[in-house]
Amino acid sequence: MRILSLAGRRLAASIPTLFLILIGVFLLLQFAPGDTVDALMAQMGGGDAATARDLRKFYGLDLSLPAQLANYLWRLVQLDLGFSSIYGKPVATVILERLPPTILLMTASLSFAFFFGLVFGVIASRAVNKWPDTLISTLGLIFYATPSFWFGLMAIVVFSIYLQWLPAGGFEDIGQVQSGFWRVLDIARHLILPTLTLGLIFLAIYLRIMRASMLEVLNLDYVRTARAKGLDETRVVMGHVLRNALLPMVTLIGLQAGTMLGGSVVVESVFSLPGLGRLAYESVIQRDLNTLLGIVFVSALLVITVNFVVDLLYARLDPRISAEG
């Protein structure tokens, strides 16, 4: 249980970081010209000065900057994320509504990228510099170099417009109300294209890392020993090489959980999914400080959680880590 206390300590250390990030974002947004009332005016297409004054008071923007920040932090300590000015309801509620699509999309594409990255990485390393390796590496490069919005739009053109196999966007079918299993199936159908779009780029990274790390481990002495004692190639790879080659992949997951949250703004917009990325973008444009800070807070929590799980996984994969601490 050494690993737990280690991870626990890391969790505790991340709390001050979290506060620093929140204060930083708060101040950064102050540098952006205009506040949420200006943004609202832009959206409404006009309004007079008296209306603007009323609205500033309504949103609590008539207070001084330090007072606003102090108010915010004090509320945060009480675990109150405040009130969203775009949505007119508590930020916690808004985020909770948006969290499921984001987490679904993130988990699905991470798993997709991880699984296929692993498989293709192993295949490529087993056939180094032969045609499967060349094919996989080239495809990987192409996926990596293609912008995700283009991938998404092309996927829509092919699978939704021409073939009409999959829906072009949205989280679920609005036409008919479904429940239980059929609803799950419907949501899954809607998530296929976004998952592929978001996952392909990460797939490319995973397969490169997997290939490199397999090649490295394959040259180690204990692998030669395993072969020398007469194990067949499959057992050498599955039982000895894979487990050790997985460590860098697991590290990468922890690092990329954050990137995935950010990267999904594009994918969420192209596929009209109601996720956190789009919410964050909207709250910047609308200068909805509370919502934005709430999202930063929740995203940071997500990243911390994922890294916590990664720490635990390390220990499982490599017993030396928990032994040495």
Binding site: G34, A39, Q43, G46, I156, P167
Partner: protein, 538 residues
């Protein structure tokens, strides 16, 4: 200085209007033999979610596109752009223009079953239009009371004369009624009804899933007999323009309103038999592209420099190559779609003439220095649309040719409004001026002095002209329609001479709609209207 642009540009102007006319013909294809069919779901692209949906407290197309089907206004515009009664059946003005009486429709009920009466009109006018509604608060500034002698009569009392034709042209947008019984207690802005609108319209609000969709179903108790035809309207929130075009092609949307697609997609889909792309039905939402001058810069306070800038830009070339059929040459703040007020082209115009621009700059004392540079300006483009971004780059390149270096500073919506209309941190700004059927609603504020600092889309140029102020004030209270028109023609002449803001391009929003839709685009503000007669052919 009186220049007519007509000689040089007649050909282009004619070509453009011919192209617009051709666009208009499409939806007019006669389907008279087809019998209207009941039923069907109409899916609408909703690009930018609003914070609330009540049109009595927020005047914007983003609200009308939804709640215009759920709530109704006192009047709307008919196919010819003339006011026609909706919740009001008739109206009359007293001789002094200070009392305007509306007779209201009988037998109309709110979606929750309560009767609609003059008390609702009184409550909405005094508490929403006058106090909260953008543009409404200015329009109703001198409204002192609304009397309700009986449930079917509402008498509007004004401190100063209110021209009936101004009120009737403003009310289609600024005359939506909300239910008194749902709003009378508590803060109107925070009322939950704002996100679950209740009205008297042909469609009843069902559900709003933020970030995803809004649904409204047919109102079986609607006061117009045999209406509406559609069973359901679904507005789908799609923020990406290209994704919206893809969904339209995949059949998941039937209507993309108010130029919500990219210019190239609108042109492409217009050629596709399955869709119609047209400016028809949006004449009531005309807008002009602007160049706004900051007079705090000494160069720009010189009228010769402002005129030189106008002369230096080849507007017909820009329209032809970048905007295509959906725009035409503008002639000032009142667009040609406004048949009641359009003053014609007989006002000062500034055709493309580079030599003249250079001569004017020389004359103003800004001689070309080393490398031909005269001075540099900061241009702030508004982020409202693709056309503004293209236009700002075109301005930059055109002005470079006459020795003015332009630095483009891009902002998002809030930032743009703050920097231009509050902090005045710009030299040139460019965006849209929205014309709302009568110049007094949202046009003259661009020129009238004394606008409070920070009020967006108003005269923040540091420019004041007593003559223009007088013309604007006189037109505002002039009761005689012909005299009002003459005063506004005078106003356009004056502001085109002084040029505090230049409005050289006229645009109407583009509708892209499924070819199966019938009875669409049949009024000047169709996208905002109630769609009670819209139906879908098989």
């Amino acid at each position: 200085m009186d220049l007519t642009r007509l000689e040089i540009n007649r050909r282009t102007a004619l070509l453009t209007s011919a192209a617009i006319a051709a666009n208009v013909i499409n939806p007019m294809r006669a389907f008279a033999q087809e019998a209207p069919k009941k039923g069907g779901v109409f899916n609408v692209h909703y690009g930018a979610e609003q914070r609330q949906l009540n049109p009595s407290i927020q005047a914007s197309t983003g609200v009308y596109i939804i709640s215009g089907k759920i709530q109704e206004s006192l009047v709307d515009l008919d196919a010819d752009g003339k006011p026609v009664g909706v919740l009001a059946e008739s109206w009359e003005s007293s001789a002094d223009g200070k009392t305007i009486t509306f007779k209201l429709r009988k037998g109309v009920t709110w979606h929750d079953g309560k009767p609609f009466t003059s008390a609702d009109v009184e409550f909405t006018a005094m508490n929403m239009w006058k106090k909260i509604l953008n543009y409404g608060s200015t329009l109703q500034l001198f409204l002192t009371a609304v009397d309700t002698p009986d449930p079917q009569t509402a008498v509007f009392r004004y401190e100063r004369p209110m021209p009936l034709n101004l009120l009737l042209r403003a009310l289609p947008d600024l005359g939506y009624i909300s239910a008194k019984h749902l709003y009378e207690s508590g803060d109107i802005r925070q009322n939950p009804t704002n996100l679950a609108p209740v009205g008297t319209g042909p469609f009843k609000f069902v559900k709003y899933e933020r970030g995803q969709y809004i649904i409204a179903d047919r109102n079986p108790d609607y006061w117009r007999s045999n209406a509406p035809y559609l069973d359901r309207i679904v507005w789908k929130v799609i923020t990406d323009r290209s994704a919206a075009a893809a969904q339209l092609e995949a059949g998941e949307l039937q209507y993309c309103p108010f130029s919500s697609l990219t210019i190239s997609d609108m042109a492409r889909l217009g050629k596709d038999k399955r869709f119609i792309a047209t400016t028809k039905g949006n004449e009531g939402n005309a807008r002009t592209n602007t160049i706004e001058f900051n007079f705090r810069r000494k160069e720009l306070s010189d009228i010769r420099v402002r005129r030189a800038i106008a002369h230096a830009i080849n507007v017909p070339f820009f329209i032809e190559n970048f905007l295509g059929d959906f725009a035409k040459l503008g002639t000032g703040p009142i667009p040609s779609t406004s048949t009641d007020f359009y003053p014609g082209t007989d006002t000062p115009q500034y055709p493309y003439d580079k030599a003249k621009a250079a001569a004017l700059l020389d004359e103003a004392g800004f001689k070309a220095g080393a490398g031909g540079a005269r001075f540099s300006l900061k241009l702030l483009p508004a982020p409202w649309g693709e056309d503004i971004s293209l236009w700002s780059t075109f301005i930059q390149q055109s002005l470079k040719d006459v020795g003015i270096t332009v630095e483009i500073v891009r902002n998002d919506g809030g930032g743009f409004l703050k920097q231009v209309y509050d902090e005045h941190a710009f030299d040139l700004a460019t965006g849209w001026h929205q014309y709302r059927n009568d110049p007094a609603v949202s046009t003259t504020v661009w020129y009238r002095s004394g606008q409070p600092k920070g009020a967006p889309w108003t005269n923040q140029w540091g420019w004041e002209d007593k003559q223009v102020d007088t013309t604007i004030d006189n037109a505002l209270t002039e009761l005689d329609a012909a005299k009002r028109k003459a005063l506004y023609a005078e106003f356009v002449k004056e502001v085109n001479t002084e040029l505090p803001v230049w409005m050289p391009i006229e645009q109407i929003f583009v509708t892209v709609i499924s070819a199966k839709a019938r009875n669409h685009s049949n009024t000047p503000r169709w996208g905002s209207s109630s769609w009670h007669d819209l139906w879908l052919s098989a």
